[in-house]
Amino acid sequence: MIELNVHKTLQSAQGSMELHVELTVEKGQFITLYGESGAGKTSTLRMLSGLMPPDKGSITVNGTVWFDRERKTNLNPRHRNIGYVFQDYALFPNMTVSQNLEFALDRKQDKTVVEDLIATMELQQLRHRKPGTLSGGQKQRVALARALVRQPGVLLLDEPLSALDSAMRQKLQQYILEAHKKYGLTTILISHDIGEIIKLSDKVYEMQNGKIVRQGAPPDMFGLGKTSAKFRFTGEVIRIQKEDVVYVVTIRIGNDAVKVIADQSEVSHLQPGDKVAVASKAFNPVIQKI
């Protein structure tokens, strides 16, 4: 269990920002930090991992005090047993992909875990390459693999899949989830992708301006709580076409687009790019696996 309650003033030329985060994560839980750019998500992970000392407060993980200002405790990052995927990857330029992973091995750890990860992340072709020549997504996969090598107790993922195409992204989401369950990890994810958050996490914390402003189960947080047998979708107007007397409005919902017939009065206040909700009362859908 992670109990974190920290204060930090981030100094900068223009004013300063007060970061105050209070967070309790159960062992084995998968939580997500969500929020606007500069809200303090990365800073929170940095404090938890010991890379940035908080000004005040304490961090306790599974009963061990990692940080306590009062008691002057500040556990070295290397003893915190974490895996950290950095937002900017932080691969070691002097080592090949394999070497980056092997470097992470614990003294007595079996090398097979490296092989497994290389296979999972589809890095076989790249194993002898230095990070300098990798593409963005390739680097990101190496960073994720490296953080998983030690099978750490706490896994910290700072936008770990943001540079990946959707197929790879889905695949690695699945993998992270499996690893999380298999090794009983406690995982903290930072992500901007709502689908990803819903898929992976047990709980979401929304940060704003250095504070946690909302928290809850993912579906509730993203307004999916009030689901019903009714079909009600949110989507975005792509196109409005006049056809004879009616208008055909094309709306994108997720990766799909639907055409909806609307009349003049309905479209008069709509334009492409608008967010809309589409609902229907009587509907009896059929599910079909694809």
Partner: protein
């Protein structure tokens, strides 16, 4: 012309460079990390040996290391180390004198590295020492090379300090730079040219090989 002085020079330069490397890495690492108030003082002090003329520096070292002196006497009595007129003394003097050539480049290399490299290593459970050795140093290769080349070349050519501390004793402290100096002083320009050419050629070849390897030109041979 004798080969003794040249071999002695190479030994001196190699020993000095190796010792300097071992000393300078921790010092440079500390300087690149510390937020201590005495950091600028230490930085300035490191360069101080350069400011005095070598002979004069050598003179002060001579005074300090001399068995006439409390410190030199203590060294002699308790550790049996004689620093004046001995090879050990030459090495120590060269190390002191060339310190800035090793420390400054390594320090500037280390402080140019992004913090995330060491941070990533710490989160992977590695100690500062492992991080320094496996992550930081390999990523500042150009700076290490600069430090090594400058120290090596400077020790090859230096003779003011060495002459003062070492006393020009054949086979013991008579390095090539002093030999050349002597020949020039004796107006033996032919012999001086000979030594100079050998020294230049040796150094040039050494450095060329170093730079070729560093530039990856010799990949074919090193695979």
């Amino acid at each position: 012309m004798e080969w003794g002085p040249i071999i002695l020079t190479l030994k001196l330069a190699a020993a000095t460079t190796a010792i300097l490397f071992v000393l300078a890495v921790p010092l440079a690492y500390w300087l690149s990390r510390t937020t201590s108030r005495i950091k600028p003082v230490v930085e300035a002090l490191v360069s101080m040996p350069l400011v005095l003329p070598p002979t004069v520096l050598g003179f002060y070292m001579l005074l300090a290391f001399s068995p006439q002196n409390a410190f030199g006497d203590w060294l002699d009595k308790w550790l049996g180390i004689q620093l004046v007129f001995s090879f050990a003394g030459l090495v120590l003097a060269s190390v002191l004198y060339s310190l800035p050539f090793m420390v400054h480049p390594i320090q500037s290399g280390l402080s140019s590295l992004p913090n995330t490299l060491s941070e990533a290593s710490y989160t992977l459970g590695k100690s500062k020492w492992t991080t320094l050795r496996k992550v930081l140093l390999p990523n500042i290769r150009p700076s290490l090379l600069t430090g090594i080349v400058l120290s090596f070349a400077h020790t090859m050519g230096e003779f003011g300090v060495v002459l003062m501390i070492g006393g020009n004793i054949p086979g013991k402290t008579r390095v090539a730079s002093i030999a050349i100096y002597d020949e020039v002083e004796a107006l033996n320009y032919g012999a001086a040219n000979g030594y100079s050419l050998i020294l230049l050629a040796l150094s040039f070849i050494t450095l060329l090989v170093v730079y070729l390897i560093n530039g990856g030109y010799l990949k074919r041979f090193t695979v």
